[in-house]
């Protein structure tokens, strides 16, 4: 499953090369790492600018879903992409080798889905909610000592990389569904209590938010199903605990969608379950990556 079969497996020793070439390669790799870290910091600053701008605007009560947030997030996304591209180039494979890279890939997926979905559903304020999550993920990745390089480089495994990246993009969709769920609950609460704050006038209607939640859940669910299915074709042994946990998350989302399909639960509960579901998925992702780092498979 995701990272289960050594997603976090790549070191930077360049096998099969003479020591001097390997040394040179290692030097250029560490140079690239400095550049990519810089790009990641710039990207985080862009997202942080969107957070600050939204916070100040909401505090002043004059939030306008203007171009600034979209541009800041778009620019942040460009730097994220550049970061992942440089990392991937240096590693010679998808940059999903440790928790640091997984967090950043997840942040990139969240931004990607937002940029695709946000304008389509006129969920402009979603940017204001998305940016904090990205800042949190990238900030954590930058601060915590999780950018660990493995001493041994394993050959690239395209099916494993496909499995991991599709699963992480699915996580991005679940993250956005979670954010839309938070927006739904905020809006719902204000309507129930008759206390309409500034944010109320900028949030989309409840029914539009709910439609967006369901579409994001479907998108995430389809991608996650593909991710899980492809996990069985990686050619590596799969830890049972991780399979069980991944299937549990899949079942949770399947249950949410099934209940919605048969109209068994109210939209408010679906919104709340999106938050719970994503928290569970995130915990699983962390668990998988952590266990893969601490107990690498042979």
């Amino acid at each position: 499953m995701t990272c289960g079969s050594r997603i976090c497996d790549v070191g930077f020793a360049i096998r099969g090369m003479s020591p001097s070439i390997a040394k040179q390669g290692a030097r250029s790799y560490s140079g690239l790492l400095r550049v990519d870290r810089f790009l990641l910091i710039v990207s985080t600053i862009c997202f942080f600018a969107a957070v600050v701008r939204t916070g100040l605007a909401l505090r002043a009560g004059v939030f306008r879903p203007g171009r600034f947030n979209f541009l800041a997030i778009g620019l942040g996304f460009v730097f994220q992409t550049a970061f992942l591209s440089i990392r991937g180039h240096a590693l010679g494979r998808y940059p999903l080798t440790n928790l640091f890279e997984v967090f950043n890939f997840l942040a990139w997926s969240v931004a990607l889905i937002y940029l695709l979905v946000g304008p389509a559903y006129r969920l402009s304020l979603m940017g204001g909610f998305t940016a904090p999550l990205v800042v949190l993920l990238q900030g954590l990745a930058l601060i915590a000592p999780i950018d660990v390089h493995h001493p041994v480089k394993l050959p690239a495994n395209s099916s494993l990389e496909f499995h991991a990246s599709v699963s992480l993009v699915a996580y991005g969709a679940f993250a956005l569904a979670c954010i839309a769920g938070v927006m739904y609950l905020v809006q719902e609460r204000q309507l129930k209590t008759h206390q309409l704050h500034s944010i109320f006038y900028h949030l989309p209607p409840l029914t539009d938010l709910f439609t967006a939640i369901i579409r994001l859940l479907w998108l995430g669910f389809i991608l996650y199903s593909i991710g899980i299915a492809s996990g069985f074709f990686t050619g590596r042994p799969l830890p049972h605990l991780q399979i069980v946990a991944a299937i549990a998350v899949w079942l949770l989302y399947a249950a949410i969608l099934q209940s919605r399909y048969f109209r068994r639960i109210a939209p408010k509960r679906v919104a709340a379950l999106c938050i719970i579901g994503f928290s569970a998925a995130l915990t699983l992702l962390w668990g998988i990556t952590f266990s893969a780092q601490t107990h690498p498979l042979p």
Partner: protein, 358 residues
């Protein structure tokens, strides 16, 4: 050139007085005969104002006479103590910017005034009464109004019970085209609210009243269909919005009788607008999941919150206006200086511009 505004508004005159001076077509021509090089009449239900540009000072009395000539109520006699105000130069510019931005309106931040100002400008322009001065002034006023609306929350929310209800409905359902509405009771407020909903796209409207005749009458007036009064509880299974305003002494709708009805529509919200006094709906109904109940006090409270926010935004709007007034004055002063240089006249000092040149 003197730029001035002479007028009366809801601040200074009652409706009878405003009606007396509400000039019809042709007033601008008369004003030009009276000495105005350019003239524009802005007549709305809350104000009658003349904006003009003239070489010599045209007195307020002359303007009032011109307006009276074109007013339908001109035969009512002329009152000596007219409640007209007069703004010249900078004050005139500031006043127009405030008017166009809705700061001088009875309901602060209302946006109808901008449309009315645009229409007045187009009429005056079509009749040839607007020249370069008023053209620039009004174009800038439209820009200022737009900026004020964009950069402040002066137009945020609704400030009347009917429009608050409609806004809330849109915040719950988005587009109202597919919404089914039931009006319970044929009162005046419920009719107004129903009409407001129809104006925003509602097409499926049902009316239920104890007196079937009155119910049918209202249904006919608003283009809905009448439903017998004993059938309204079943309607709750289908409808999205319920407007109640019956004269019932006891609540018609309680949590106990609504919950079973809603069991099969768990995925669809129900918005209840209870404008009856005493209330038709038990407040505990609001605790049901997916039900949003607003009684008259709640709607008023939302309207007041909006009005309070609008008032808080006045300072920001005034700051934008002040900036534009100075900029507009500076641009005009530069232009006058350029013209003076070309024609060999003395340079126009800024101070004298404000007082006499403008």
């Amino acid at each position: 050139m003197n730029l001035f505004c002479v007028g009366l508004s809801h601040h200074t005159a009652n409706v009878e007085m405003r009606e007396r001076f509400a000039a019809g077509a042709g007033a601008e021509r008369t004003l030009r005969t009276a000495g105005c090089a350019e003239a524009l009449v802005l007549a709305t239900c809350n104000r009658v104002e003349v904006y003009g540009a003239s070489e010599r000072r045209v007195s307020t009395d002359e303007i009032a006479q011109s307006l009276l000539q074109h007013s339908e109520a001109s035969n009512h006699g002329h009152n000596n103590a007219l409640p007209f105000y007069r703004y010249e130069a900078e004050k005139c510019i500031q006043h127009l910017f405030r008017v166009a931005s809705g700061l001088d309106s009875m309901v602060v931040g209302e946006t109808e005034i901008l449309g009315q100002t645009k229409r007045a400008y187009q009429c005056a322009r079509a009749s040839g009464a607007v020249g370069p001065w008023l053209h620039r002034l009004f174009q800038r006023a439209f820009r200022v109004a737009k900026q004020v609306r964009t950069h402040t929350e002066i137009t945020r929310g609704s400030v009347s019970v009917g429009s608050v209800a409609v806004d809330l409905a849109q915040k719950i359902f988005g587009e109202l085209d597919d919404c089914k509405v039931l009006v319970l009771g044929a009162g005046e407020t419920s009719e107004r609210t129903a009409r407001a909903l129809i104006s925003r796209g509602v097409t499926d409207l049902r009316v239920s009243n104890r007196s079937i005749d009155r119910g049918q009458e209202l249904a006919q007036r608003v283009g809905g269909k009448a439903v017998p009064f004993d059938e309204w509880p079943q309607q709750c299974r289908e409808i999205d919005i319920l407007i109640t305003s019956t004269s019932s002494e006891a609540p018609l709708l309680s949590r106990a009788n609504l919950e079973p009805t809603l069991a099969n529509r768990i995925d669809r919200p129900l918005f209840i607008i209870d404008i009856a006094v005493p209330r038709d709906v038990d407040p505990a109904v609001n605790d049901i999941e997916g039900v949003y109940l607003y009684d008259i006090d709640a709607l008023r409270s939302v309207a007041e919150q909006s009005l309070a926010v609008r008032r808080q935004q006045i300072a920001s709007a005034e700051a934008i206006i002040a900036e534009h007034v100075s900029d507009f004055l500076a641009k005009i002063s530069n232009e006058l200086n350029r013209v003076s240089c070309l024609t060999g006249h003395e340079r126009v000092a800024d101070d004298s511009l404000h007082a006499s040149q403008l």
